[in-house]
Symmetry: C2
Subunit: 150 residues, 2 copies
DNA sequence: CGTTGTTTGTTGCGCTTGCAACTTTATGTA
DNA sequence: TACATAAAGTTGCAAGCGCAACAAACAACG
């Protein structure tokens, strides 16, 4: 009988790793009162100086629009993001970081980089490059082609 | 100002890949009326001929016991799993697949293997080996050492 | 025996999530 | 103009989740 070892089954392993990774990072976000989808909004807006629409954030983060909508609401409550009304298309609501939001972003980025480094610390430099490349291949074959704009 | 590209941030990429992987597989489980945690129970019990306790399933799958408890209840409703009472330790409830459960397992395994192959189809054979190895290193450094029993 | 602490498994509860329906605005067609 | 269609965001709702509290069964010790 053909049996399958769950612990060597790639989807399971990948899922477990991603969960652990995320939980490790969640502790860092939590210090600023935000969670994962909120961090994603912050990260997307933080990459640009000009305002971006919620739809743009949805595309970049590949996160459902209802989640983004709620994340944005919370970030506005926290004073990290502001809505800019009065654009060409009045359906779109342009978003950008406030001064506090930019400060939070600037504070968070090095912390997250350090966490990433720690998580990848078991890799040699060559393995890090391999890892990046393999992730790229997987993304490619899953149709998650990376948006250079993001 | 130090900026971080979300799309090249490993935790984000890993999370997205794991989500996509899982969703692709969820379609396969759904045909049998089960979801991811239920599949994990099925997979764990299917690996062994002798019954195992719920605690054993919890350890192998690294899934919260409340989730496992509910998954088991549903699998019993579906007639795929049965409880064996009357063991030495009456707190433990030994679990094993029913005939239907074994048939479902036998039917599901090749489907899932095919799905895994499809997902890894972008890799060369050498890259597949690299991928396995790199996952192992990450698991090691995250303390998710693989239980050989699983 | 009794008492205290530990382990197994279940369940109540609050929170988060994604889906779908909805509002509002823009676009296309006549 | 009128009308249908599409897109951007929001929100109601039901399902899923983990946490913590819990009951039941064991273990250790006096």
């Amino acid at each position: 009988m053909d049996r399958l070892n769950l612990l060597s089954f790639s989807p399971f392993r990948l899922n477990r790793l991603a969960t652990e990774f995320s939980q490790a990072l969640a502790a860092d976000y939590a210090r600023f009162g935000i969670d994962i989808p909120e961090w994603r909004v912050l990260a997307t807006l933080g990459q640009h100086d000009d305002p971006r629409s919620a739809a743009y954030v949805v595309r970049c983060t590949r996160t459902h629009k209802s989640r983004i909508s709620r994340a944005v609401s919370h970030l506005i409550e926290l004073g990290l993001v502001e809505r800019l009304e009065g654009g060409d298309d009045r359906r779109e609501i342009m978003l950008r970081l406030t001064a506090t939001g930019r400060a939070t972003y600037a504070e968070l980025v090095p912390i997250l980089r350090a966490r990433e480094d720690a998580l990848l610390s078991g890799f040699s430099e060559a393995q890090k490059r391999d890892f990046e490349r393999l992730l790229g291949v997987l993304e490619e074959s899953l149709g998650l082609v990376r948006d250079r704009e993001g």
